[in-house]
């Protein structure tokens, strides 16, 4: 089971989180300007890459806050955790999470 670094609560077990799928899918500016196919893209179609994937998680059993993560879908490794609009460079492997007092990073 993975440890996920909640940006607010630090490392917690995966079971405290719910998965939110691909990140940065904005609600269309004007849904009625889209044809059905474009609308379907928003409703149903998501990227499904093998490798780094920007996705959303919510710390449901903790602070109930949504955040974004860049995670490798092959190794399951969290490359970054962030709350901003775009992921930090994928080279950064340091979670953006503030560690609790005395808590050591697990990777």
């Amino acid at each position: 089971m993975q440890l996920i670094a909640c940006p607010w609560c630090g490392q917690r077990e995966e079971t405290e989180f719910h998965y939110g799928g691909q990140a940065h899918i904005a609600y269309p500016e004007d849904p009625y300007a889209l044809d059905d196919e474009q609308w379907a893209q928003y409703v149903f179609f998501r990227d499904n890459p093998k490798g780094p994937f920007a996705e959303r998680w919510v710390h449901s059993a903790g602070c109930r806050r949504w955040f974004n993560a860049l995670r490798d879908t092959v190794t399951h490794e969290f490359l970054a955790v962030y709350t901003g609009a775009t992921p930090p460079s994928t080279t950064s492997t340091a979670p953006a999470a503030p560690q609790r007092k005395g808590q050591e990073a697990s990777r």
Binding site: Y19, A40, Q41, R46, N48, K50, T73
Partner: protein, 415 residues
């Protein structure tokens, strides 16, 4: 001391031998009429029916690893057709009918055992949904019954049907013709037949690109060189999104790890197949005597063929609620496959916007049972350019029109 040249005594814990010859290991030719990407059950069955039903044999099946080494080797081999909607029961029942003659057709001991499948109901809403499915199945000509708890106990005496447990069994749907088969034997049966037709089964051959020009597919690039093809058919389950993206196609698919496990060989205790969506258990006892169980799906996207431990813990707790006698059975091995799941838990089978490129994916947890059925229909689609009536509803465009085939209720695992 018995000389081992003698035939072994008949024991249910000994499987029939495989044949002395299975397939050639040819090098890829420069060009084929049809290239099938993915040497799993679906790819092999499609190749077989292309040859058998449509006389197309200049075919290569490309497998990036070893034949049938993906979900075909990792699933829990449950075969049934009692899905809710007409569209689903159509293709799954077509498949089940093919299963019933497949052993003769392939001349391979696939150990298809029609021991029946129970889908348990644990709440009043489960009961409503289950009965709805039974009534629909019956009108679609599918053998489906509703069983009360005491009838469930008759079919599978080890199920705990006591009413004072956390989630009592309120009854179950039962499909007597459903059952299990031996997955490797099925895959190898199709593979051997395909090989006999002269179809090239090419392993360790990963597709790295698709040659698309003028909106038409011309071939594939692989780790074993470029291969020209008149038609290219994807049958890559969890890896479909990766391949489709090579064609610039974005699909309504998410790939998730799905775990399964086996116990040691046990004396027969479990005569049928039991599934329970509510508590996430599905279990059968395979031919050698091992318990084969499926676990819940991991929530996140994953290509790692590894699931999380808490899923197994939950799985075992649920299993012991239903089957207290399993307490001291041992978990021998666990593994995970990668299932590609669509928003409506139904597959996508048919043409793509790229001429000559065909798509078969999104089977989620239903892929194994569909193997002969989808192979048959996919072959028809590839050969004629027109969908077979049974896969016609499973278009990509349904997500645009909204004509979904929502099978979450019947898909076997709540997604």
């Amino acid at each position: 001391m018995r000389p081992i040249d003698n035939a072994p005594d008949a024991h249910e814990d000994v499987l029939p031998d495989h044949p002395d010859f299975l397939w050639r290991n040819p090098d890829p030719k420069p060009s084929y009429d049809v290239v099938i990407v993915g040497g799993g059950g679906h790819g092999l069955a499609t190749a077989y029916y292309l040859a058998k039903n449509h006389g197309i044999t200049n075919i290569a099946v490309l497998e990036k690893g070893w034949l049938a080494g993906g979900n075909m080797a990792r699933n829990t081999t449950i075969i049934r057709s009692n899905y809710l909607w007409d569209e689903s029961s159509g293709i799954y029942e077509h498949s089940l009918k093919l299963w019933e003659t497949l052993e003769e057709d392939l001349d391979y001991p696939i150990l298809f055992s029609q021991r029946g499948v129970l889908n348990l109901a644990h709440s009043l809403q489960d009961v409503r949904d289950s009965k709805r499915r039974v009534y629909a199945n019956q009108l679609n000509g599918i053998d489906a019954e509703w069983l009360e708890p005491e009838e469930v106990a008759k079919v599978c005496p080890i199920v705990n049907t006591s009413q004072d447990v956390r989630y009592p069994v309120h009854g179950a749907t039962y499909q007597p013709r459903a059952g299990i088969a031996k997955h490797d034997y099925v895959a190898w049966g199709f593979a051997r037949r395909a090989d006999e037709y002269g179809i090239d089964l090419i392993q360790d051959c990963e597709v790295t690109g698709l040659d698309i020009r003028g909106g038409r597919i011309h071939g594939v690039r692989t780790t074993r060189g470029d291969i020209a093809a008149g038609k290219v058919a994807l049958a890559a389950a969890g890896h479909t999104s990766v391949l489709a993206s090579m064609a610039g196609l974005r699909l309504p698919l998410q790939s998730h790890p799905l775990q399964a496990l086996v116990s040691e060989l046990l004396e027969p205790v479990h005569p049928t197949v039991v599934m329970s969506n509510a508590v996430h258990v599905y279990v059968s006892q395979a031919h050698k005597g091992e318990l084969v169980m499926g676990a819940g799906i991991d929530s996140y996207n994953g290509y790692g063929q590894r699931g999380a431990f808490h899923i197994l813990e939950r799985q075992m707790a649920a299993a012991l609620e239903l089957f207290p006698v399993f307490a001291r059975a041992h978990m021998l091995r666990t593994w995970a496959g990668i299932v590609d799941v669509t928003p409506d838990a139904s597959p996508i089978v048919g043409a793509t916007p790229v001429e000559g490129l065909y798509l078969n994916c999104g089977w989620g947890t239903g892929g194994f049972k569909a193997t002969p059925g989808v192979g048959w229909c996919y072959a028809h689609t590839i050969a004629t350019g027109e969908p077979h009536p049974y896969n016609a509803p499973f278009t990509l465009s349904r997500f645009t029109s909204g004509a979904l085939v929502d099978e979450h209720g019947a898909a076997g695992v709540a997604h």
